[in-house]
Symmetry: C2
């Protein structure tokens, strides 16, 4: 009887606590929602004042009613005020960068922006370490396929391992594209091209999955396209490893400098790391050249394939020309990616050398 | 000179405002972080008291020192307290449901949980309307392919449209799986199976992409597998439409009932909608039967294909048996999905009829 009462009391107490907590949670949420709203409005207001002032100063200079030297000083001060807003704790209250169609397509209208700066940095770090793990596989998987091809498979790749590798590529590029879109929402300045580049790579992986991996006879020649593709992948692995090394050091320098962002570029504080860029870029250019070369070779293979096979077995022409259509798509994509990568690397370098 | 001064003052004022805002944003964030922490701790503490009490009452009943009738009453009260925590505003302060490996693989360690209940409901609604749009395409695309096949393509599907459709399927299942994982993090009670089901479907779409779509001669027979696959897809579209209708009404009933959740099942308030379930389920069972049938037919096609082709052209056997390997995987996956869907539909019905 005694324990019965005790249990009854305790249950009542717990139920009471739950109700109290529910009330304080509700009031906490409504209070913070209001306060958040007001911080948000102030942020938007200040941001637009900055833009307006910037515009008026510019036009005053153009009309000659304002000294250029003086204007530059004021502009710099405005820029600094803007950096305070966009790089500090206020950043999360500025209007959301649009999530972009890609994220919406895959995830729906969910918010992926982290409010706290340290969480945002953690996401960035995790992205970097993901790229590290990936670059390793990027190097190992295609190399293994190529080695096994010579050692065990008698120059004739079986379809299953190649297709599993291509499926992995598709997954990888999708996840990279998703993660980079998320980084962008969280305030990264990543250029759109590097994301588009991964869309192209996704498409390429998808198309390569539909390649028919042909067997004997004449395997070595028929599989020339696949082989080139794998060789390019190995090179891509090397590029990723180098790039990661640089990006990681860059992030650490930034974190060490107190989580500042654009400001440190203006004040030139990451110069130590940016020096590395001049070492990295020549290597990147070589790799990009190789990428274009592989693309052109693929296009070439496709055309030659049509001609020689046409002569050998006319009756198969429909299927073969279809096979080549896929190779043509992959070749074209590789060339586009190479040109885009080159152009954007050059633009990055130019933007950096301006400071 | 006058305007120069004015600009200078305004810039200084804006810079001052930016600094002030930065300060209040920082203090706001640190204040709310602290308060959130305390709400979180209280929620965890109450939750574990509930569990402990539940355990002690149970063991007291087993030892015979406590009346069973009385215990049930207390248990119900505890259950209600728990519902207050997990369905109200407190829900977002309970320890995160783990994000699951799938989300981490694609998105990294980003938080996709919405704090506010109305946002969570919006996500759920958007998921439902996404399914609606999808179900429509699910019906239209494969039907179109099948119709064009008879009307225009002379019983011989060209590879490109089929592969584009398969790529769309892969994208679709991936996005559904991602969205359902996100819903789960946001407190949905979706059974794991419905998510696994989409993993299976992803795998099937991936494997089907590597199918070689063979042309003439003997097209109709060679493409039997693809054709079955498309027919199954049409049925799947019908199933989705019916299911959506039901789920949407269910959600609206819930929202109308004031966003209650498990509670309304206990109090039996969604009975009106759950009645529909008894109409929906027989249709679902028929579709699941058809799914299994298509799976078995695919397996059968693969085997018959091997035998007849073996006799016809022995020299092609390696490639053909490989083609069949893919059909075997798809057939097996279909059978697994049918059995799993059936088992889980039955379990859902049983769970509902218990109240
Ligand atoms: C040229 C390069 C080294 C410049 O890197 P960088 O100095 O970080 O460039 P930026 O200062 O413009 O970077 C701005 C932001 O974009 C990110 N970024 C730059 N290039 C990126 C890339 N290729 N992928 C993903 N993110 C990238 C940076 O991390 C930075 O993010 P943050 O704002 O969150 O800190 C880099 O873009 C690169 O390696 N590109 C070549 C890639 C290539 O061609 N690969 C294929 C070769 S076959
Ligand atoms: C049987 C069925 C109608 C029951 O639906 P229900 O009444 O909503 O089931 P529950 O009460 O268990 O739902 C719990 C949660 O899971 C969700 N859910 C249930 N089945 C789902 C499914 N198949 N896909 C996605 N979400 C589902 C519900 O929306 C609900 O979410 P919420 O907690 O966020 O509100 C539904 O599961 C169904 O249609 N299954 C059959 C699907 C099928 O077999 N398709 C293939 C045929 S070929």
């Amino acid at each position: 009887e005694n324990s019965q009462e005790r249990f009854g009391e305790e249950v009542a107490r717990v139920a009471e606590l739950a109700k109290e907590l529910q009330d304080s949670a509700s009031s906490f949420i409504s209070r913070t929602t209001n306060e958040e709203q007001s911080v948000r409005q102030r942020a938007v207001a200040i941001n637009s004042s900055i833009q307006k002032l910037h515009g008026s100063i510019d036009s005053a200079v153009k009309q000659g009613s304002f000294d250029r030297k003086e204007a530059e000083k004021l502009d710099e001060e405005l820029y600094r005020a803007r950096c305070i807003l966009s790089d500090g704790d206020t950043a999360s209250f500025l209007p959301n960068k649009s999530h972009g169609r890609f994220l919406k397509m895959f995830l729906g209208p969910i918010n992926v922006r982290a409010t706290r700066k340290d969480v945002q940095l953690k996401v960035k770090e995790e992205y970097n370490s993901y790229r590290d793990r990936t670059a390793f596989l990027f190097l190992v998987l295609p190399s293994t396929l190529l080695l096994l091809r010579t050692w065990i498979w008698n120059d004739c790749l079986p379809a299953l391992p190649v297709q599993m590798y291509q499926a992995w590529l598709l997954f990888l590029y999708t996840s990279l594209a998703l993660r980079e879109n998320i980084l962008r929402v969280n305030g990264s300045d990543i250029r759109s091209w590097w994301i588009y580049h991964h869309y192209c790579a996704m498409l390429m992986a998808l198309v390569s999955l539909t390649w028919e991996i042909q067997g004997q006879p004449g395997c070595a020649q028929k599989q020339r396209g696949v082989q080139l593709f794998l060789q390019w992948a190995v090179m891509q692995g090397v590029a990723m490893l180098l790039q990661n090394r640089y990006q990681r050091q860059r992030l650490y320098t930034r974190i060490a400098l107190g989580k500042a962002k654009r400001m440190d570029v203006v004040w030139g504080e990451t110069a130590g790391v940016d020096g590395q860029l001049w070492l990295l870029c020549p290597i990147l250019f070589i790799l990009q050249g190789f990428e274009a070369y592989v693309g052109l070779l693929l296009l070439n293979t496709a055309l030659v394939g049509v001609v020689s096979e046409w002569q050998a077995r006319k009756f198969l022409i429909f299927r073969l020309s279809y096979f080549n259509f896929e190779v043509v798509v992959c070749g074209t994509l590789l060339v586009i990616m190479a040109v885009g990568n080159f152009a954007n690397t050059v633009q990055t370098l130019m933007a950096k050398s301006r400071f």
